[in-house]
């Protein structure tokens, strides 16, 4: 009885994909299998949360819409009132899109950290690029699903035709990826639930609300307008609105430029932090 010194040698036939301790597994620079697995897990998580990110935002959008259409009072039913509501619908769709995009990954990462389940993916051969791509894409999917649910709900009682669907799609993608990356960063930086809820209440909700979401920037006082225009979320909301209403395309180029720049910067930061294992590996 002599065992091969190298453990399980070539003589022992093993099924494909079996664990071979004597062999180093090779994968390409981007581990597609790891990425798909992680993405699949995140999507499965989303399926269980459907109530949270589809129904609740839909309901709150309907409430905002009701409140606004009554709040307009005697303006309701006039062309001016119509204009305000037409302005509002893309804003509410984007609100839902952006809020869910930032919430989903931050929650997922912090939860995995708190429960210790983050080890499962730190041990696996997935690097920063795979993790970032999986988190951002799944969050974008949640955001888009949530925004679409709100939009379909509006179609029932407010016909909001999309003037330029391609432009809407472009800004939806840019806006949700920006917020998703913000979400990944928030999840990485947070250590306790308090941090996450503080980030939502004191950073993201004000940023989203003070972005020309409900009121045209043109009507704002100078100081406030400057603040709003320094807010990257303003460009996402504005872009989606341009696509919906088909007006003001000349601003679209600037909005794309700002969003691409912010996206690149955020992805670089998040990638670096993930690569270093910032607040992941202690």
């Amino acid at each position: 009885m002599d065992m091969p010194a190298t453990g399980l040698g070539a003589e022992t036939p093993l099924p494909a994909g079996a664990y071979r301790p004597d062999r180093r597994r090779h994968h390409r620079r981007f581990n597609t299998l790891g990425f798909l697995t992680l993405l699949g897990r995140e999507i499965k998580r989303l399926r269980k949360l459907a109530m949270l990110f589809l129904v609740a935002p839909g309901l709150s959008a309907a409430l905002y819409f009701t409140v606004f259409s009554f709040g307009l009072g005697d303006k309701r039913g006039t062309p001016e009132g119509d204009a305000i509501l037409a302005f509002l619908v893309p804003g509410l769709v984007t609100l839902s899109l952006l809020t869910q995009s930032v919430q989903i990954p931050s929650f997922s990462i912090l939860y995995a950290k708190m429960e210790g389940a983050i080890l499962d993916q730190l041990m696996a051969p997935v690097g920063a690029a795979e993790m970032l791509a999986a988190y951002v894409l799944s969050a974008m999917a949640a955001g888009v699903a949530s925004g679409a649910a709100v939009w379909v709900g509006f179609l029932i009682f407010w016909q909001a035709p999309m003037a330029d669907p391609a432009l809407v799609l472009l800004f939806v993608v840019l806006g949700s990826s920006m917020m998703a990356t913000f979400g990944v960063l928030t999840g990485l930086i947070s250590v306790k639930w308090d941090h996450l809820s503080a980030a939502m209440t004191f950073v993201f909700t004000p940023l989203i609300f003070l972005s020309g979401l409900f009121a045209p920037v043109a009507g704002m006082p100078g100081m406030l307008r400057a603040i709003v225009q320094a807010n990257p979320i303003y460009y996402a909301i504005d872009g989606v609105r341009i696509g919906f209403l088909g007006q003001g395309q000349d601003q679209a180029a600037l909005a794309v430029l700002v969003l691409v720049a912010v996206n690149v910067a955020l992805l670089a930061i998040a990638g670096t932090l993930l690569h270093r294992g910032y607040r992941l590996r202690n």
Binding site: L63, L72, G73, P206
Partner: protein, 279 residues
């Protein structure tokens, strides 16, 4: 031998007096104040989340709705829109936080298992409910007061009838605290609580005439408002500031007293039977 046969217990019994049950009187004040203090310290410890965050959210709503719904010049009747909107938003903040305080306290205790700490001590159902409700009212009033101070710095809201302000503030906080307590006892998971907040509390508070007068809403929503307790306490609270009312104040007070009474009875019954509290 004789020494041993004599029961050792009888010797001890002779030496120490028989323990008598503690006399507590009609109301166990120590128990009540202890639980009340716990309820208040519970939210004050995380005041950034429980006081500052709702104030910021309310102010955000205030600025956004003020900007979107007609700015500075718009009037509701003879009252500027900004003065009309302020009291309603303060009340919304108070109500939502009173609800959040009791519901989260009970549900967290149930989920974590430390609810036994308040079930074991000699607290009657009345003391139990009163202590939780007092915690909720204190949180509601603190959120409301801070929001009022901040809004007052920017938009003077005026004060027409302070008694109505205080009465409606306390009544509304009590109503929502009781609802939160009942909801917290009923819920088994955080999902249940989130569902109550999303599908009951938020719609009730939005469709209450905070952001619009009933004159501007379609007929159907008049009916909705008049079966919505939020409508009555927002309307009465706003009357205390601006002296203008959408409904009849007397009806509102009767409705609130009636609902509060019913909720007290439900909560007392739940605690005394131990519904979903004592497994």
């Amino acid at each position: 031998m004789t020494m041993l046969q004599q029961s050792p217990l009888s010797g001890i019994a002779a030496a120490t007096p028989v323990p008598a049950p503690r006399a507590l009187g009609a109301i166990n004040w120590v128990g009540f104040t202890t639980l009340t203090k716990r309820e208040i310290r519970r939210f004050l410890k995380v005041w950034v989340q429980t006081i500052a965050a709702p104030v910021v959210t309310t102010l955000l709503f205030y600025s956004v709705f003020a900007l979107a719904l007609g700015g500075v010049v718009r009037m509701v009747g003879d009252v500027p829109f900004l003065r009309f909107l302020g009291p309603g938003l303060i009340m919304m903040g108070m109500a939502q936080n009173a609800f959040a305080n009791t519901s989260s306290s009970v549900l967290v205790s149930k989920v974590q298992g430390n609810i036994v700490d308040v079930l074991m001590p000699p607290l009657s159902p009345f003391e139990f409910v009163s202590a939780f409700v007092t915690g909720g009212i204190v949180r509601g009033l603190m959120v409301g007061f801070v929001t009022w101070i901040v809004i007052q710095l920017v938009v003077p809201l005026g004060l027409h009838a302070p008694f109505y302000v205080l009465f409606h503030a306390v009544m509304a906080s009590m109503l929502l605290s009781l609802l939160g307590l009942i909801g917290g006892i009923w819920a088994d998971k955080f999902d249940h609580m989130a569902a109550i907040t999303n599908f009951v509390i938020t719609p009730l508070s939005f469709l209450s005439g905070t952001f619009y007068t009933l004159d501007s809403a379609p007929r159907f929503f008049h009916t909705v408002a008049h079966v919505n307790p939020f409508f009555y306490f927002i309307d009465g609270f706003r009357y205390g500031f601006i002296g203008r009312t959408d409904g009849t104040l007397g009806t509102g007070i009767a409705v609130m007293l009636g609902i509060n009474l019913v909720l007290w009875l439900v909560a007392l019954r739940m605690v005394s039977t131990g519904y979903k509290l004592k497994a």
